[in-house]
Each structure stands twice: as C-alpha cells, then as structure tokens.
Point group: C2
Chain length 350, copies 2
Amino acid sequence: MRTVRVAVVGVGNLGRRFLGLLGDKERLLASKYGLAIRVVGVADSGGTAIAASDKGFEVDRVVRLKEQGRSVAELPGGIEGGDAGSLVCDVALDVLCEATPVCFEQGAEPAVSILRAALMRGIHVVTPNKGPIVVAGIELAELARSHGAQLRFDGTVAGGLPALYVGMRDLRGAVVRRILAVPNLATGYILDLLAAGASWEEACRDANENGVLEGDGSWDLDGWDAAAKLVILARAVLGAGADVTLADVLRTGVRGIGAKQVRDAQVRGGVLRLLATAEEDDDPNRSWHLMVEPTVLKRGHPLAGLGRTEMGVVFETDIYGTITLKIDEPTPLPSAATMLRDILDIYESP
Amino acid sequence: MRTVRVAVVGVGNLGRRFLGLLGDKERLLASKYGLAIRVVGVADSGGTAIAASDKGFEVDRVVRLKEQGRSVAELPGGIEGGDAGSLVCDVALDVLCEATPVCFEQGAEPAVSILRAALMRGIHVVTPNKGPIVVAGIELAELARSHGAQLRFDGTVAGGLPALYVGMRDLRGAVVRRILAVPNLATGYILDLLAAGASWEEACRDANENGVLEGDGSWDLDGWDAAAKLVILARAVLGAGADVTLADVLRTGVRGIGAKQVRDAQVRGGVLRLLATAEEDDDPNRSWHLMVEPTVLKRGHPLAGLGRTEMGVVFETDIYGTITLKIDEPTPLPSAATMLRDILDIYESP
C-alpha cells in the first residue's frame, strides 16, 4: 500500500466534491490501486488546516463543515486567515490539489505562486483550474520537468472529459489538423432556453438560479471560458507554444443573440452552440487560428445533438480519422473527479 | 534515437497500410519520439521474408509488392511457404505486429500460437486482431506480464477509436455501470442503404462491392463481430474475466430486417444500428449481461446520428458522467494506425 499525502487548496464546488470522492472511493483505491490518499492539509478562503498526523483528516468531516458554509480554519489544527501557500512549505506533501475558483486578474494569482512553490519542491500538482494553466502553463510545465514533478490539468478543458489525455496520448503519431470544441455548459444551457422560447433575461435568471452561471456571467457569456479552454487544448494537442494566449482567440460571445436566431438554427435542423475552433493558420504571419463563436451545429456535425448538460471535443486527424468525445455532466462531480484521475495517472502509469 | 525492430505478420488491408504509415511517419517518429521503427521481418499467406540487416526493409517496396498482389516471399531474404512463427524464433525482435484476418475457427490459430511464442520470448505484441484476444486474451495477458512484455490491442474494438485506452486508463477510479457500443461498420452501412430504399440483396451486394462486407458476411451480419468486440470491452473495462466468452453474448444480427422496420425507426426520429450492451447482471446466477441487437437510436441517445462510416462507444460511469467516443473512419487507415499508437504507447509511457 502506497500512501499519497495530498493538500487540497480550494474547498468549493469542486474541492468539496473531490474530498467526498476520496471518502467514497477509499476502499476501491486501496484494493484496486494500492493507494491510500491522505488529506494532510486543506485551505479555503477563510484559512488553512494542517492534520495532526500523516493519517490526515477524516474527509467526511471536512465535507460536512463546508456544507454548513464554515471554513476549514475551524478544524483541529486550523489557522484562521492562514495562507494556502504555507501548506506547500510547511507540510510534507506528495500532491497539491488546486481547486480554487478561476481568476485571470492579477496574473491568476495567488494560484500561480502556489503551483510554482509546489513544483519547485518536487510536489506533483493536479488542478482543474484554467487560470494558472492559461496564464503560466508553459512555465509551470517546464518547472515540473526540471524538478521531477508531474503537472496534470485534465479537468481544465471540458469537465470530466479526458480530452487532454486522448489528445496528447491516444493521438500520438498523428497530425491533428483541427480541433472543434463545445467546452462551455452555461452558454448551451442558455441557448437551449432561448430556443424553448425564454427571453434573454429569463434565460440568464434561470441559469443564475440553477448555479449554471456565476456572478454577472460575463466569463461564460462573452466566451472567455471557451477561449481559455481552447488555448489549453491548442497548446497541449496542437503543440502551439506559450505565444498562444487568450488575446489570440477571435472571440464572439452569446450576448445579443435573439430567440429568433436560435429558432432559425432549429429550423435549419441544428442547435446553436458556442463553438471553439483551433487549427494551423494559412496566414504565414500567424501560426494558429483560434476562434470562439456561436455556430449552428447541423445534422451530420460531429457535435450535433449535444444536450443541455453535454460538452464535446472533436479531433480531426491525419491517421486516426475524426474522433469525437463528449460528456454528459449534469453535476460538477466529473470535473472534481478529474483530480482523482490525474492522481491515479501519476501513480499508475507503467 | 531508439531503434525498434518489428515484424509484421499479415500484410493485407491493415498490415499494408501500417507499413505505409511507417514510411510516411518516419521523420515524425524520429523527431518527436526519438524512435526508428525498422521492419526486420514480414509474413503473409505466401511466405515470409527476413531483412538482411537491422536496418530492415524499405517499407515502400513491401507496400508496392503487396499492391501488385504478390507475396513478401518474393523479397530478398524471402522464403516461399515460410512459417510466420519462425520470424518470432529466428529474428531479433522488439515488437510483433500481428494483423492477420480475424479467424475464430480452430481456436484462432495460428494467431494465438504466434502471439504466445512472441510473448514467451519477451517480445511485445500489438494487434488489431480480435481472434486471439477473444479466444485467449486473458492467458496471453498473463503470459505478457510474467515475461515482462506488453500486449496491446487497442484496434480490436472500434477501429481507430481509443476505446480501450480511455476505458482502462482515463476511467480509472470509476465504476463503469454500462457500456453501449456500435462497433461494427458493415451493419450500419447496410441498414442505412435499407433506410434509403434498397432491398436486402441490393444492400448486401453494394456492401460487398465496396469492400464493406467480406465473403458471405455472416461474421458481420449475424453480430459475431460486434459480440467479439463487446467481450473484449467487457473484460478490459468492466473487469469481466475469462469466463465471459462469445457464447455468453445474447446475439441478434441484422438479417431479416426489412426496409419497413428501418423506415419506421426513422419516422420515430432515429436510426437503426446494431447496438452492443454490457453491464453487470441483476441475475445472481450470471455476472454479466452482454447483448447485441438491432436497436433504434433515437434523438437524445448518445450515439444518435451516427453516420455510415462511424462507430461509437459509450461509458456510463459513477463519477465521470456519461462519456461517449465516436470515430468517423471512412477507410481502414485508423484501424491500421492503432498498431502505431500501441507501439508509441509502449515506448512513450512515462
């Protein structure tokens, strides 16, 4: 039995579900993979807590605490206002699980600094957080390599869909000519409500009330989320370098789309989705053509028929045909579970 | 640069394309993966040939020869009537690429014997051939383990779709509750022709003329091909053991389906496909419920809208949602390319 000591930074929607998973899967992880994953540190916006021993926290207890809206600082060993970065410095860790909310302002800090600190200590990092990967992914990957650590971020692209693993591993030997993706759930949800006759305001209110849209929603509605995911895909699968950034994505969001346009799409036999596309550019001055825009997916399109809780990615390749992956993800559980997938991949790879 | 010495047994539809690929991809394999794959032995139904040196054969020459309908026995070093098994014994090999036609009679021999001989010598095996995997897959996997060799057969399930890699690797940590698959192209092709108004005889003739159906077609039409693929999926992904065999699949083929049934399916808003399903059985006397039968895939079904050259696999999981993979494979190239994927996976896995 191998013990893996992890710290979980960010215990919100994803972090909390991930902790719950570790409890639910404890026996399976032991019997099938010979792994005992121990949560020895946790951090949320209220503070930090460090477990008294290598046995770690009782994860169900942490989950219950968070469900009551309280902070991990209230746990034994808790430090109110404690800094998440200190977990990396003060605790003997094997893996840092970073699941703080996406933030692109201030250079995706403090996430980037925490990841950097972990990798420099040879601590593996798993994260579904797009922020640090878009802002500093190439630098962080290089840091991981030079310190013998693994950096995994399978959950950054399309929730629980293993789009990065398939693109990077199962398409080896191929040239990927084009990537198409519908990687954002909130816009699909809203576009479907519009198609069903809702007004823009009604659709947004519904999405807000059901937790599909957060805050003012501009991150989703203006296509930033899809663009960020596209940048990560393009770098990982097409080999686009650090020079491909969010600013390189030609981006049109879904704001201003009327019910009429959506219904016209239906009449034409398709659904409207915010489609992200990446391919090598014909223009010799630019290497990559990255675009996000509302697109009618007609019958015959590989992503036609995507449901309200579905995301998808298409790889057009030279030798493996056209491969389409999609996921139906009615709750954030699959996104949270990508941290488990990533950990198992680190310890299970032959 | 790492040299990988391979022998290719079976130089038909898949083997020939695989050899062509090795030529086309030589530079990419060297620059990106540091691999020089050398074909040091080949075998077809006419005989064998062993290359004069470790540099191997010029693959394009072998491809041209085969395109002319000739045997590899005519190559320098060729032996008319030579036995494929001797390649494994007489040639220093790293990987055996087995691509002979599927054959389930006589215990899938001689394929099983050749694979066994290779694995016992510690030679890795890659094969898209369902025969030996269905008949002796568990024994061969055990043999591979005990001799430090790798046995890869990603191409046995749905052509170029990495269904096994995703199911075995990217779903780690999950319980897969059910697998749905449309893994056979020929039946979809015929069912679509019926839907377009062709008679059964016309559809079969068309499929024969276009190389979609081989021989009397019973392998495809009676659902054996889909059943074999389902058995491989169930063993690899659900953990069903060697006790799950072809005989355990409740199997209904597509023979006898009339145009009316197919059109009715369309009227009901769906397409008819030969669907393969595997799940744990409620019946305590049986562990697994495996079924192949013509099924209407209606709007909303994860595999609805599959085109004539598409195959797909759905994994219903406890923690990663429902994940659907599909491939559009208009030629056998992706199936052939799985041997390259498998080789790269052997040498590239961290």
